[in-house]
Amino acid sequence: MNKTILITRPDDDSTLNLLFFWTEPVVILAKKKNFVVLDLKSEKSSKKVFDSYIRKNNPSLVFFNGHGSDNSIEGFNNEILITGGLDEFLLKGRVVYSRTCSSASLLGPRCIKCGCKAFIGYDNPFWLPRSKTIYGNPLKDKMAERFLAPTNLIPTTLIKGHTASDAHNRSKREMSKNYREMVSSISTSEERKLSFFLYCNIVSQTLIGEPQSVL
Protein backbone atom coordinates (compact mmCIF):
# COMPACT_ATOMS: atom_id res chain seq x y z
CA MET A 1 0.00 0.00 0.00
CA ASN A 2 1.26 3.45 -0.92
CA LYS A 3 0.24 5.66 1.99
CA THR A 4 -0.03 8.78 -0.11
CA ILE A 5 -3.16 10.74 -0.89
CA LEU A 6 -3.57 13.63 -3.24
CA ILE A 7 -6.21 16.26 -2.53
CA THR A 8 -7.25 19.12 -4.81
CA ARG A 9 -9.05 21.99 -3.13
CA PRO A 10 -9.26 25.22 -5.09
CA ASP A 11 -10.94 28.13 -3.33
CA ASP A 12 -11.60 30.71 -6.01
CA ASP A 13 -15.34 31.05 -5.43
CA SER A 14 -17.57 30.81 -2.40
CA THR A 15 -18.76 27.25 -3.10
CA LEU A 16 -15.19 26.06 -3.50
CA ASN A 17 -14.25 27.95 -0.37
CA LEU A 18 -16.81 25.92 1.53
CA LEU A 19 -15.41 22.65 0.16
CA PHE A 20 -11.90 23.90 0.96
CA PHE A 21 -12.68 24.29 4.65
CA TRP A 22 -14.69 21.09 4.85
CA THR A 23 -11.71 19.15 3.47
CA GLU A 24 -9.53 20.16 6.41
CA PRO A 25 -10.80 17.40 8.76
CA VAL A 26 -9.83 14.83 6.11
CA VAL A 27 -6.30 16.27 5.88
CA ILE A 28 -5.96 16.16 9.67
CA LEU A 29 -7.10 12.54 9.89
CA ALA A 30 -4.86 11.44 7.01
CA LYS A 31 -1.80 12.98 8.68
CA LYS A 32 -2.75 11.38 11.98
CA LYS A 33 -2.88 8.01 10.22
CA ASN A 34 0.62 8.64 8.85
CA PHE A 35 -0.39 9.24 5.26
CA VAL A 36 1.68 11.54 3.11
CA VAL A 37 -0.82 14.23 2.13
CA LEU A 38 -0.25 16.06 -1.14
CA ASP A 39 -2.53 18.97 -0.41
CA LEU A 40 -3.03 21.02 -3.58
CA LYS A 41 -4.55 24.08 -1.94
CA SER A 42 -5.90 27.07 -3.88
CA GLU A 43 -3.78 27.92 -6.92
CA LYS A 44 -1.73 24.74 -6.45
CA SER A 45 -4.76 22.94 -7.87
CA SER A 46 -3.45 23.60 -11.37
CA LYS A 47 -3.02 21.09 -14.16
CA LYS A 48 0.75 21.46 -14.14
CA VAL A 49 1.15 20.81 -10.41
CA PHE A 50 -1.49 18.07 -10.40
CA ASP A 51 0.17 16.15 -13.22
CA SER A 52 3.59 16.52 -11.67
CA TYR A 53 2.50 15.36 -8.20
CA ILE A 54 0.46 12.42 -9.42
CA ARG A 55 3.27 11.11 -11.66
CA LYS A 56 6.01 11.52 -9.07
CA ASN A 57 4.20 10.33 -5.94
CA ASN A 58 1.81 7.64 -7.15
CA PRO A 59 -0.98 8.35 -4.61
CA SER A 60 -3.37 5.52 -3.77
CA LEU A 61 -6.28 7.92 -3.20
CA VAL A 62 -7.13 11.03 -5.22
CA PHE A 63 -9.74 13.26 -3.61
CA PHE A 64 -11.02 16.01 -5.91
CA ASN A 65 -12.91 19.03 -4.63
CA GLY A 66 -14.08 21.43 -7.29
CA HIS A 67 -16.37 21.93 -10.18
CA GLY A 68 -17.05 19.20 -12.63
CA SER A 69 -19.02 18.21 -15.67
CA ASP A 70 -20.04 14.90 -17.23
CA ASN A 71 -16.57 14.37 -18.61
CA SER A 72 -14.15 16.55 -16.66
CA ILE A 73 -12.95 17.74 -13.26
CA GLU A 74 -11.71 21.28 -12.70
CA GLY A 75 -9.14 22.85 -10.42
CA PHE A 76 -8.24 26.44 -9.58
CA ASN A 77 -9.68 29.10 -11.85
CA ASN A 78 -11.69 26.45 -13.74
CA GLU A 79 -8.58 24.88 -15.22
CA ILE A 80 -9.40 21.33 -16.24
CA LEU A 81 -7.39 18.70 -14.34
CA ILE A 82 -8.82 15.53 -15.87
CA THR A 83 -10.66 15.11 -19.14
CA GLY A 84 -12.23 11.83 -20.20
CA GLY A 85 -10.73 10.57 -23.42
CA LEU A 86 -7.57 12.59 -22.87
CA ASP A 87 -5.79 11.94 -19.59
CA GLU A 88 -7.97 9.77 -17.34
CA PHE A 89 -5.12 7.23 -17.45
CA LEU A 90 -3.52 9.35 -14.69
CA LEU A 91 -6.02 7.77 -12.31
CA LYS A 92 -5.06 4.19 -13.21
CA GLY A 93 -4.59 1.94 -10.17
CA ARG A 94 -6.03 4.50 -7.75
CA VAL A 95 -9.21 4.99 -5.74
CA VAL A 96 -10.89 8.28 -6.62
CA TYR A 97 -13.46 10.37 -4.81
CA SER A 98 -14.69 13.26 -6.92
CA ARG A 99 -16.66 15.78 -4.83
CA THR A 100 -17.76 17.63 -7.94
CA CYS A 101 -20.89 17.86 -10.04
CA SER A 102 -21.75 15.14 -12.56
CA SER A 103 -18.30 13.59 -13.14
CA ALA A 104 -19.50 10.06 -12.34
CA SER A 105 -21.77 10.04 -15.36
CA LEU A 106 -19.17 9.83 -18.17
CA LEU A 107 -15.73 10.44 -16.72
CA GLY A 108 -16.11 7.86 -13.93
CA PRO A 109 -16.80 4.90 -16.27
CA ARG A 110 -13.99 6.06 -18.57
CA CYS A 111 -11.56 6.09 -15.64
CA ILE A 112 -12.58 2.54 -14.72
CA LYS A 113 -12.00 1.42 -18.30
CA CYS A 114 -8.53 2.91 -18.02
CA GLY A 115 -7.71 0.90 -14.90
CA CYS A 116 -8.87 3.15 -12.05
CA LYS A 117 -9.70 0.82 -9.13
CA ALA A 118 -12.84 2.59 -7.92
CA PHE A 119 -14.47 5.93 -8.65
CA ILE A 120 -16.98 7.49 -6.26
CA GLY A 121 -18.75 10.60 -7.47
CA TYR A 122 -22.05 12.12 -8.54
CA ASP A 123 -23.80 11.48 -11.82
CA ASN A 124 -25.87 14.66 -11.52
CA PRO A 125 -25.25 18.13 -10.06
CA PHE A 126 -24.15 18.24 -6.43
CA TRP A 127 -26.62 20.55 -4.70
CA LEU A 128 -25.43 22.58 -1.76
CA PRO A 129 -27.76 24.95 0.09
CA ARG A 130 -26.07 27.49 2.31
CA SER A 131 -26.97 30.40 4.45
CA LYS A 132 -26.19 33.85 3.05
CA THR A 133 -25.65 35.15 6.55
CA ILE A 134 -22.60 33.07 7.53
CA TYR A 135 -20.30 33.24 4.52
CA GLY A 136 -17.35 34.09 6.72
CA ASN A 137 -17.63 30.91 8.82
CA PRO A 138 -17.98 27.92 6.48
CA LEU A 139 -17.64 25.34 9.24
CA LYS A 140 -20.42 26.99 11.25
CA ASP A 141 -22.93 26.67 8.42
CA LYS A 142 -25.24 23.99 9.85
CA MET A 143 -27.05 23.50 6.57
CA ALA A 144 -23.80 22.95 4.69
CA GLU A 145 -22.80 20.51 7.43
CA ARG A 146 -25.89 18.40 6.72
CA PHE A 147 -24.70 18.06 3.13
CA LEU A 148 -20.91 17.94 3.46
CA ALA A 149 -20.15 16.07 6.69
CA PRO A 150 -21.50 12.76 5.27
CA THR A 151 -19.39 13.15 2.14
CA ASN A 152 -16.24 13.50 4.25
CA LEU A 153 -16.92 9.93 5.39
CA ILE A 154 -15.85 8.68 1.97
CA PRO A 155 -12.18 9.65 2.24
CA THR A 156 -12.01 9.14 6.02
CA THR A 157 -13.44 5.60 5.77
CA LEU A 158 -10.91 4.77 3.04
CA ILE A 159 -8.07 6.24 5.10
CA LYS A 160 -9.10 4.00 7.99
CA GLY A 161 -8.51 0.97 5.78
CA HIS A 162 -12.04 0.10 4.72
CA THR A 163 -13.21 -0.69 1.21
CA ALA A 164 -14.62 1.69 -1.39
CA SER A 165 -17.98 0.02 -0.91
CA ASP A 166 -17.85 0.64 2.85
CA ALA A 167 -16.94 4.28 2.25
CA HIS A 168 -19.73 4.81 -0.27
CA ASN A 169 -22.35 3.04 1.85
CA ARG A 170 -21.32 4.71 5.08
CA SER A 171 -21.60 8.11 3.46
CA LYS A 172 -24.99 7.33 1.93
CA ARG A 173 -26.20 5.96 5.23
CA GLU A 174 -25.24 9.19 6.99
CA MET A 175 -26.89 11.27 4.27
CA SER A 176 -30.02 9.15 4.65
CA LYS A 177 -29.93 9.70 8.40
CA ASN A 178 -29.64 13.44 7.87
CA TYR A 179 -32.48 13.33 5.35
CA ARG A 180 -34.71 11.51 7.81
CA GLU A 181 -33.90 14.06 10.50
CA MET A 182 -34.55 16.92 8.08
CA VAL A 183 -38.06 15.68 7.27
CA SER A 184 -38.90 14.75 10.86
CA SER A 185 -40.86 16.76 13.37
CA ILE A 186 -37.69 17.73 15.24
CA SER A 187 -36.28 19.58 12.22
CA THR A 188 -36.60 23.26 11.44
CA SER A 189 -38.93 24.46 8.72
CA GLU A 190 -35.86 25.47 6.73
CA GLU A 191 -34.44 21.94 6.88
CA ARG A 192 -37.70 20.40 5.73
CA LYS A 193 -37.81 22.68 2.72
CA LEU A 194 -34.25 21.87 1.71
CA SER A 195 -34.36 18.12 2.35
CA PHE A 196 -35.22 17.54 -1.28
CA PHE A 197 -31.75 18.67 -2.35
CA LEU A 198 -30.11 16.19 -0.01
CA TYR A 199 -32.22 13.43 -1.47
CA CYS A 200 -30.93 14.42 -4.90
CA ASN A 201 -27.34 14.01 -3.71
CA ILE A 202 -28.13 10.62 -2.16
CA VAL A 203 -29.49 9.18 -5.37
CA SER A 204 -26.76 10.84 -7.43
CA GLN A 205 -23.80 9.43 -5.45
CA THR A 206 -22.37 6.50 -7.34
CA LEU A 207 -19.62 3.94 -6.89
CA ILE A 208 -18.12 2.62 -10.11
CA GLY A 209 -15.40 -0.02 -10.34
CA GLU A 210 -14.28 -2.62 -7.82
CA PRO A 211 -16.30 -2.25 -4.58
CA GLN A 212 -13.70 -4.13 -2.53
CA SER A 213 -10.89 -1.73 -3.45
CA VAL A 214 -8.79 -0.45 -0.57
CA LEU A 215 -5.94 2.03 -0.39
Binding site: T15, L16, H67, P125, R130, E190, L194, I202
Partner: protein
Protein backbone atom coordinates in the same frame (compact mmCIF):
# COMPACT_ATOMS: atom_id res chain seq x y z
CA UNK B 1 -34.82 10.44 -19.49
CA UNK B 2 -35.02 14.17 -20.14
CA UNK B 3 -38.05 16.06 -18.88
CA UNK B 4 -38.74 17.65 -22.28
CA UNK B 5 -39.11 14.18 -23.76
CA UNK B 6 -41.58 12.80 -21.27
CA UNK B 7 -44.03 15.61 -20.73
CA UNK B 8 -46.51 17.21 -23.10
CA UNK B 9 -46.97 20.96 -22.92
CA UNK B 10 -49.92 20.86 -20.52
CA UNK B 11 -48.28 18.47 -18.09
CA UNK B 12 -45.08 20.45 -18.30
CA UNK B 13 -46.87 23.65 -17.29
CA UNK B 14 -48.49 21.86 -14.36
CA UNK B 15 -45.18 20.46 -13.17
CA UNK B 16 -43.56 23.87 -13.59
CA UNK B 17 -46.19 25.36 -11.28
CA UNK B 18 -45.60 22.69 -8.65
CA UNK B 19 -41.83 23.05 -8.81
CA UNK B 20 -41.98 26.83 -8.59
CA UNK B 21 -44.40 26.65 -5.66
CA UNK B 22 -42.02 24.30 -3.87
CA UNK B 23 -39.01 26.50 -4.63
CA UNK B 24 -40.86 29.51 -3.25
CA UNK B 25 -40.96 27.86 0.15
CA UNK B 26 -37.15 28.01 0.42
CA UNK B 27 -36.18 30.68 2.98
CA UNK B 28 -34.90 33.91 1.47
CA UNK B 29 -31.59 33.80 3.32
CA UNK B 30 -30.64 30.49 1.69
CA UNK B 31 -28.76 30.23 -1.56
CA UNK B 32 -28.36 27.04 -3.53
CA UNK B 33 -24.91 26.35 -4.92
CA UNK B 34 -24.65 24.30 -8.03
CA UNK B 35 -21.48 24.47 -10.05
CA UNK B 36 -19.67 27.75 -9.61
CA UNK B 37 -22.76 29.82 -8.93
CA UNK B 38 -25.10 30.44 -6.04
CA UNK B 39 -28.73 30.94 -6.88
CA UNK B 40 -31.59 32.46 -4.94
CA UNK B 41 -35.01 30.86 -4.98
CA UNK B 42 -36.21 33.61 -7.32
CA UNK B 43 -33.47 32.82 -9.83
CA UNK B 44 -34.19 29.10 -9.68
CA UNK B 45 -37.90 29.76 -10.22
CA UNK B 46 -37.03 31.89 -13.23
CA UNK B 47 -34.89 29.09 -14.67
CA UNK B 48 -37.78 26.64 -14.31
CA UNK B 49 -40.09 29.08 -16.11
CA UNK B 50 -37.56 29.63 -18.88
CA UNK B 51 -36.74 25.94 -19.17
CA UNK B 52 -32.97 26.40 -19.24
CA UNK B 53 -30.57 23.59 -18.28
CA UNK B 54 -30.72 24.15 -14.53
CA UNK B 55 -34.48 24.69 -14.67
CA UNK B 56 -34.96 21.42 -16.53
CA UNK B 57 -32.68 19.58 -14.12
CA UNK B 58 -34.73 20.91 -11.23
CA UNK B 59 -37.95 19.78 -12.90
CA UNK B 60 -36.54 16.31 -13.50
CA UNK B 61 -35.33 15.80 -9.98
CA UNK B 62 -38.44 17.30 -8.38
CA UNK B 63 -40.58 15.02 -10.48
CA UNK B 64 -38.50 12.02 -9.49
CA UNK B 65 -38.59 13.06 -5.84
CA UNK B 66 -42.37 13.45 -5.82
CA UNK B 67 -42.80 10.10 -7.59
CA UNK B 68 -40.45 8.39 -5.13
CA UNK B 69 -42.35 9.97 -2.24
CA UNK B 70 -45.76 8.93 -3.51
CA UNK B 71 -44.68 5.39 -4.41
CA UNK B 72 -42.83 4.87 -1.14
CA UNK B 73 -39.63 4.18 -3.07
CA UNK B 74 -37.87 6.89 -1.12
CA UNK B 75 -38.26 4.95 2.13
CA UNK B 76 -37.24 1.71 0.45
CA UNK B 77 -34.10 3.43 -0.79
CA UNK B 78 -33.31 4.92 2.60
CA UNK B 79 -33.79 1.50 4.23
CA UNK B 80 -31.46 -0.03 1.66
CA UNK B 81 -28.79 2.49 2.57
CA UNK B 82 -29.15 1.59 6.19
CA UNK B 83 -29.08 -2.16 5.55
CA UNK B 84 -26.23 -2.07 3.03
CA UNK B 85 -23.94 -0.56 5.61
CA UNK B 86 -25.14 -2.70 8.50
CA UNK B 87 -24.64 -5.84 6.38
CA UNK B 88 -20.93 -5.10 6.25
CA UNK B 89 -20.87 -5.93 9.95
CA UNK B 90 -20.19 -2.44 11.29
Amino acid sequence: MKIKNILNKRNREQIQKIVIARLNTIPKDIEISVGATQYTREQLSKFVKEGNEIGNQLMEIQLRYLRDLSSGKIYQLLDEQNNSYNSTGR
